[in-house]
């Protein structure tokens, strides 16, 4: 249903240079599935999502690649076509901070009614009725429809934002870290509600998060982003249990397994790559304990291992070795002195 092919996103800078926030992403999402997009800050996950719904900042652009949605290339549409035909009718969004996502001067109900009436020719009463139903579905007291956003708690505002996103039964919902500001209990409940309603209206969801435990619960597939590329993409089981990319292995270390005892949390040393002038080779090489000369020189191409499990890594075929090594803290510790040397090598 949604098919991204070799999508690049650039942010132009004042000095004429450009930040290559997304560097050739190809990924597809089927109907009625939830795709979790994970990665650390600056990995390009939000940028990718914003490129889809065309909300990039003014200096952002998609110079290459196609974003096909139900057979139409979204990058070809004019702003007007996009606004009237795609936005909210087809693709809606749950923003990161719901509390500020509502206009403070209108009631929440009024804003849902406005959204419905912008796209559909229905009376105020009907739109209001639908808003009440949505409130009920999301577990908010419909009596609070005439409240202003500031009268809502964080969790309620987030639910109301999801109600707004579902108002026109869109086929695709982009949820950009929808539960980041909430405590884990509310977080879990909201995500379950989202999952239930998504099943009901048979839409697809792209769920952006940096919390791997969140996605593992409700997602069907996971795509791991690093340095503007999708480095690994597979169904949830595979990503959690049998990842092949060293970055995913590293991420997994940072989240302890509740059933095993006495685990050390191991973080990945180093910082995300420079996106202004992405170096040759694999973007993760400077932080990767398994990097070889090839990794420094040649950018790995996506390769498929098993059913739909796509990995961008030269050593992905050595899964067992990598998995074992990655579990040891020393593997990642040793690295901390190495990147310097690595960068020098890259300069040669």
């Amino acid at each position: 249903m949604l098919e991204l092919t070799d999508v690049h996103v650039e942010y132009e800078m004042e000095d004429g240079g450009a930040v290559h926030a997304v560097n050739g992403v190809s990924i597809s999402l089927e109907k009625n599935k939830i795709l979790g997009l994970i990665g650390e800050s600056g990995s390009g996950k939000s940028t990718l999502a914003k490129a889809v719904i065309r909300l990039l900042a003014k200096n952002g652009d998609v110079p290459e690649g196609s974003i096909e949605y139900k057979g139409t290339d979204l990058t070809e549409l004019s702003d007007r076509e996009f606004r009237t035909e795609i936005r909210w009718d087809e693709i809606s969004m749950v923003p990161q901070n719901a509390m500020n996502g509502f206009d403070p001067v209108y009631t929440v109900g009024n804003q849902i009614v406005q959204a419905i009436r912008t796209h559909e020719d229905v009376s105020k009463g009907e739109a209001r009725e639908r808003a009440r139903e949505l409130f009920e579905q999301l577990g908010i007291d419909p009596g609070r429809i005439d409240d202003y956003p500031h009268q809502f708690s964080g969790g309620m505002a987030q639910r109301a934002m999801i109600a707004l996103a579902l108002a026109l039964d869109p086929s695709l919902i982009i949820a950009d870290e929808p539960t980041t500001a909430l405590d884990v209990v509310i977080q879990d409940r909201i995500l379950q509600t989202l999952r239930d309603l998504q099943q009901e209206i048979e839409s697809s969801v792209v769920l952006i998060t940096h919390d791997i435990s969140v996605v593992s619960d409700i997602c069907d597939e996971i795509a791991v982003m690093y340095g503007g590329r999708v480095v690994e993409h597979a169904d949830v089981e595979t990503i959690i249990k049998e990842p092949r990319h060293p970055y995913t292995l590293g991420l997994r270390n940072a989240f302890p397994d509740i059933e095993e005892d006495d685990q050390d949390l191991i973080s990945i040393p180093g910082t995300p790559p420079d996106l202004v002038e992405p170096p040759e080779g694999c973007g993760f090489a400077p932080r990767c304990p398994f990097a070889t000369d090839e990794c420094w020189d040649v950018t790995p191409e996506p390769e498929e291992y098993g059913d739909g499990h796509i990995v961008e890594c030269h050593r992905a075929d050595e899964q067992e070795l990598l998995t074992e090594e990655a579990k040891r803290k020393e593997t990642w510790m040793d690295l901390e002195t190495e990147p310097q040397q690595g960068v020098e090598e890259a300069d040669d």
Binding site: R87, W88, S92, P95, N100, G101, P104, Q114, D146, L164
Partner: protein, 309 residues
Amino acid sequence: MSVKDHLPANVESKLTSSRALSQIKDGVSTAYELYRSDRLGQFGIVVLAAFVFIAVFAPILAPYSPGARHRRDDGSLARLDAPSTDHLLGTTHHGQDVFSQLIVSARVSVFVGFLAAFIAVFIGTNIGLISAYYGGWIDDILMRIVDIAYGLPFLPFVIVLVFIFGANIVNIMLVIAAILWRDSARVVRSEVLSQKQRPYVESARAIGASDFRILYRHVFPNVLPLTVLYMAFAVAYAIMYEASIAFLGFGDPNVYSWGRMMYQAYTHGAIREAWWWVLPAGVCIMLLVSSVFFIGRTLEEITNPEIRH
């Protein structure tokens, strides 16, 4: 929420139905509370209300026609008579009743003050909104125009324009608006620059709202308090500007205004002798301008809670 859960259903529905209303009440009652505790604000409202009342009912309140020439009992023109029971504030050089002129003049000040300020803030707000929202070359061009407007010296600008277009009250009002719009344009622009980065604007865009809709239905209501505040200050300035123009003799010769009264007293060399001719007009200008300033000052506390202490 938790308290509400324990309320019986009918109480709850009453609560929710009155909620929208209570929102409006909240805003009004904040203003009310602030004015209640602020003596200067109260003073401003009372004085302004008095002047508006006088302006509206001027023909009824004025004892004589402002242009009528009065004669003494002996038949001579009542030139520069001191205040008496017949003429509460004495007479002018031409034997006209100062008190009547004073009352009729209130119309011009109130009318020019509010209308010029409204035009100025209307233009300024729109320019600020468009400039900040669209940015780029539109912003550049509009802000350069604002810079030029800031460079214009007020009096020479007025003298030239009044000379070209003729001294009537509508032209004077437009000239004042042409100077005053610059402040609100800059201030609204800077506020919109911040507002347009807020997530609700992105949400509105994602929902499919047009630029026009985002600008006027979403951003504008959020800068409205600021606009109202600048409107209040613009009123005070407009009144003062109108009075200065009239005092310099560039005013509309067909209408009475406080500035013109002082101008006439000055040209007849009576400004030192006939205090009853000069002083009341000066006091009226002072009272009206300061009343609007005090109201604006209290409004400022509403829009900017930091200075509430």
